[in-house]
Amino acid sequence: MREVFRVGEEEHALHPGEDVGDLAVSVATQGDRLFIHLDGQTYELDYLPAVRRHAQDAALSASDHLVAPMPGAVVACAVKPGDAVAAGDLLLVIESMKLEMPFKAWRDGRVASVHVTQGQTFERDKVLLSLGAA
């Protein structure tokens, strides 16, 4: 199968799922996420429906939340909701890639909630802890 698209001045011939000529494209989708392999590189694209774009703008400030940078497990929680913390205080320790990683308070504040418990495993982007005003 061959699909041709004109984008601006350029025409692109696509051969979905096939390795033909010098432009080989493979595509897989999962919900609104697209994975496209093109000329030896894989790209991830997220389709942003209008509803989600607006929701993002209205969301709370990202600086209130500790978001998991990678999948892992909680080794220790050093704080509980209501605790006052100063910038640099240890909040929790996670383990990922067989290494321990401490997370410290990035500003002064009060722990609003701890969303994980010791021993719990989590995926990337999980909100681990939320920090309120001091």
Binding site: H12, S26, V27, A28, I36, G40, P71, L99, E123
Partner: protein
């Protein structure tokens, strides 16, 4: 031996089963429920489910695995790498159950698997080791003796392996803190908080030598592998031969390795690891098992190391003498990891929505389409192994093959590997274990150029139902112009 149970998972379980079945034996594999759809389970003659408090714990349950082997009528157990492969108690329990352990004798694992005992053994026989301080020698003075070695230092758990719990200390003020963290990690991963510290060789190369020993006292080496391309102390590209060694050095390091194995009465396949820098080499550790990177040795020697392991376990003498062993060409292995090189090599997870591998090079792959890559296991998914006449040709072949690895649904490191082996440093063979950390500019995938971006958006639009439907909903010309008519 008529039947072998593989006590492992992923690519190595499949790789071992392939040799077992090629030799006309029955191949059995144990598996956790998360691996039920894996290629190894599909390929095995029989698969037995094992359970555990965590998925990893299932593969560490020695009693359950031995019970599975007996129930399935296996004659032998191959432990692969990781998990129970370097556990002397497991090897002993396998033998006590009347089964063959495809690996070294338990006492050899006990001696060489303990880094501290192994170093002492090697030093005692006159082979080179790096200056070090061992906690067990005199615990109260350990920190003091460590400090006396001078920076930089490398802190390691005595019972460790695979880079876990290792820390480089350049600022001695941080020594106490780093010792505590290494101890905590050692306790958690190996159930053993003892540490040792050695002088860290700056810009070191990691060079290791494959050895084989039989039950009749014969030991040969199968040349060296260079494994200096590491991130987080773990190898991601390995090659044979090492571009660093001339023939005299090659002979020296390979004969040292064979000598250590001979002194230990080593039986089966093993690897002696060295740190190499400034023309000198030091014994690092011995791995008493098959290594992840064994295929590069297979590529240059034409041997099947699993077949040799099985023959040795059966008591057969080595088939080749040292002078019969030859190597040809250059081989490179590239480890395909579920990880994001642009974000500090953090593991990634996701479904394997599409999987296509090149078919003109060796690919040892532990996943298949439809499987889920989870955080439960090590993120290495597959290995790609190329062999060519020269190192340059092998690099070109590797890059061509990497470009044809298609795994969609979970980010992998193939584009990073391709950039890495195309750097001037790698091309020149100018390698050291810190090189990847010195090349932050190649870590992240470059942003697509304008032409690529347009292609991507066109493909994306075509595959996004909302966009396709919106296009269909555009009203017909007459409807849209409503009341307006000429």
């Amino acid at each position: 031996m008529k039947s072998v149970l593989v006590a492992n998972r992923g690519e190595i379980a499949l790789r071992i089963l392939k040799t077992v079945k090629r030799l006309g034996m029955r191949g059995i594999v144990v598996h956790h429920a998360l691996d039920a759809d894996s290629p190894a389970v599909a390929f095995a003659d029989a698969a037995i489910e094992i359970t555990g408090a965590t998925p990893v714990a299932a593969y560490l349950d020695d009693a359950a695995i031995i019970a599975a082997a007996r129930r399935a009528g296996a004659d032998a157990i191959h432990p692969g790498y990781g998990f129970l492969s370097e556990n002397a108690a497991f090897a002993r329990a396998v033998e006590a159950a009347g089964l063959l352990f495809i690996g070294p004798r338990p006492e050899t694992i006990g001696l060489l698997g303990d880094k501290v005992r192994a170093r002492a053994f090697v030093a005692k026989h006159g082979y080179p080791v790096a200056p070090s301080a061992v906690e067990d020698d005199d615990p109260p003075t350990f920190a003091e003796r460590a400090r006396a070695l001078g920076a930089p230092l490398l802190v390691k758990p005595s019972a460790g392996g695979g880079g876990k719990g290792m820390r480089i200390v350049r600022d001695m003020a941080l020594l106490a803190e780093e010792l505590e963290r290494a101890r905590s990690e050692g306790l958690r991963y190996f159930g053993d908080g003892r540490l040792y510290v050695e002088r860290y060789v700056e810009r070191p190369r990691h060079i290791e030598v494959q050895v084989l020993g039989d039950a009749h006292g014969n030991v040969v080496h199968l040349f060296e592998r260079e494994c200096s391309m590491q991130r987080r102390f773990q190898k991601i590209v390995e090659e044979a031969p090492s571009p660093a060694l001339d023939e005299a050095e090659r002979t020296r390091i390979c004969e040292t390795a064979a000598g250590i194995a001979r002194r230990a009465g080593y039986r089966n396949a093993g690897t002696v690891e060295f740190i190499y820098g400034g023309g000198a080499f030091y014994f690092l550790e011995m791995n008493t098992r098959l290594q992840v990177e064994h295929p590069v040795t297979e590529a240059i020697t034409g041997l099947d190391l699993v077949e040799e392991q099985i023959r040795i376990a059966e008591g057969a003498p080595l088939r080749l003498a040292q002078e019969d062993l030859r190597r040809t060409g250059h081989a490179i292995e590239l480890r395909i990891y579920a990880e994001d090189a642009g974000r500090g090599f953090v593991p990634t997870t996701g479904p394997v929505l599409m999987l296509k591998m090149p078919d003109d090079v060796r690919v040892d792959c532990g996943v298949r389409e439809g499987q889920q890559v989870t955080a439960a296991f090590d993120p290495m998914l597959a290995k790609l192994v190329v062999h060519a006449d020269t190192r340059d040709a092998a690099i070109d072949k590797a890059r061509a093959a990497l470009a044809r690895v298609i795994l969609l649904g979970c980010r992998i490191n193939t584009a990073f590997l391709s950039r890495l082996i195309d750097t001037a440093e790698f091309r020149a063979g100018d390698l050291h274990t810190g090189l990847i950390a010195e090349l932050p500019e190649i870590a992240a995938d470059p942003a697509p150029d304008a032409g690529t971006l347009r292609t991507l958006l066109a493909v994306a639009a075509r595959h996004t139902p909302a966009v396709v439907e919106a296009a269909r909903r555009v009203p017909a010309l007459h409807a849209s112009i409503g009341e307006w008519r000429n």
